[in-house]
């Protein structure tokens, strides 16, 4: 079971290089990190996976973007969540692996229909800790409500969850223990957090039937 931070944004998007973030991630208890837009493996520290984020206004645009080389070469393909129709359409696109930015979408934008499709397709929904860490007041309250709703659907339909720090700096990275504390704010148990942290490994290397070789 690989413990993975599902998204970090290294330098030049942030102030910390990928190698430094990988070293910090290893110290914080992670086995790997998904770097958005980066992929060069650092020498020491946690393993690095390449992530690609797609933000399209319509499902057609998403289909077009997932066929571009940047998305084709990525280990994990993320799509930013949109409205209810967009999310329902996006979860059925084969190349999309994770639906992210769900806290920024409207309430109930990810509903039971999308949840059922996501569970059937093995698509994951990302829980970003950045709103819980960075935001204050009503914005954070709304994010907590959204995450509680997602957790309810996850328990009912069994789709995958991933947890990401969304860190642009080593100052925004959090340890596994701190993540457990933050996720407990919206009712996630320790076992669910462990499972969610291991989900990226399951997305990258999905369970397949045993093949007889030779």
């Amino acid at each position: 079971m690989k413990i993975t931070d599902a998204s970090v944004r290294p330098y030049p998007a942030g102030d910390s290089t990928l190698a430094r973030m990988a070293v910090e991630a290893a110290e914080l208890g992670f086995d790997s990190v998904v770097a958005i837009g980066e992929g060069a493996p650092p020498v020491g520290g946690a393993a690095v996976l390449r992530g690609a984020v797609i933000s399209g206004a319509s499902p057609k645009e998403v289909i077009k973007q997932v066929r571009e080389p940047a998305a084709q070469h990525a280990d994990v393909v993320f799509v930013n969540a949109g409205d209810i129709a967009f999310n329902r359409a996006v979860v059925s696109i084969k190349e999309v692996q994770v639906l992210r930015n769900i806290h920024a979408a409207r309430k109930n934008a990810f509903d039971h229909v999308a949840a059922r499709s996501a569970a059937q397709r093995g698509l994951a929904v990302d829980i970003s800790l950045a709103p819980l860490i960075q935001y204050r007041g009503t914005k954070r309250q709304r994010a907590l409500q959204q995450y509680e709703d997602i957790l309810l659907l996850h328990r009912r339909y069994g789709f995958l969850l991933t947890i990401s720090s969304g860190a642009c700096s080593i100052l925004e990275q959090r340890s596994v223990r701190e993540i457990r504390g933050l996720c407990a704010l919206f009712g996630m148990t320790g076992a669910e957090v462990n499972e969610a942290l291991a989900s990226v490994g399951r997305i990258v290397e999905p369970d397949q039937p045993v093949r007889v070789v030779g």
């Binding site: 910390s16 290089t17 070293v23 020498v43 700096s169 925004e172």
Partner: protein, 160 residues
Amino acid sequence: MRPRPPAMRTKRRYILARILPYGATPDQKDVYLSVVEAATSLFGDAAVGLAQPAVVFCDGGYAVIRCRRGTEKDIATALATVTAIGVCRAALRAVAVSGTIHALKRRVRPIRPLSGDGEMTIEGRCFTMYRYPRQKVDLVEKSIKHQKLLFFTEPDLEER
């Protein structure tokens, strides 16, 4: 005033937190204000009032936060939401929890910069380099106000 007998005193817990970035020396009062602001915005006045958080020690890149027994998990969670101390960007990483300050001070491992500091220019800005163990290099912009911080490693610098 005579102190209360031990059995009637409030039970306390102490949280050891590492202050990031390395080399930051924030004022103890600023750390307290950051912790209380983070905890109050997360759990509200009533919960924080009962938890009685206080910063009892702040030196050498570490802070010790005192709270009532039973609230240490909540306060540790609140520490994870600290993003600034005073006007500087910072983070507090909970390292250990104990019933005595003495036990926590044994866990303190001071992180001092290694020799070989220097200067370098990135995107037209002049930075001072501070090297730390595990090939970490912190770059602090040479400026009076709003110093930019960059976090690199030795291999990153060699590539430049």
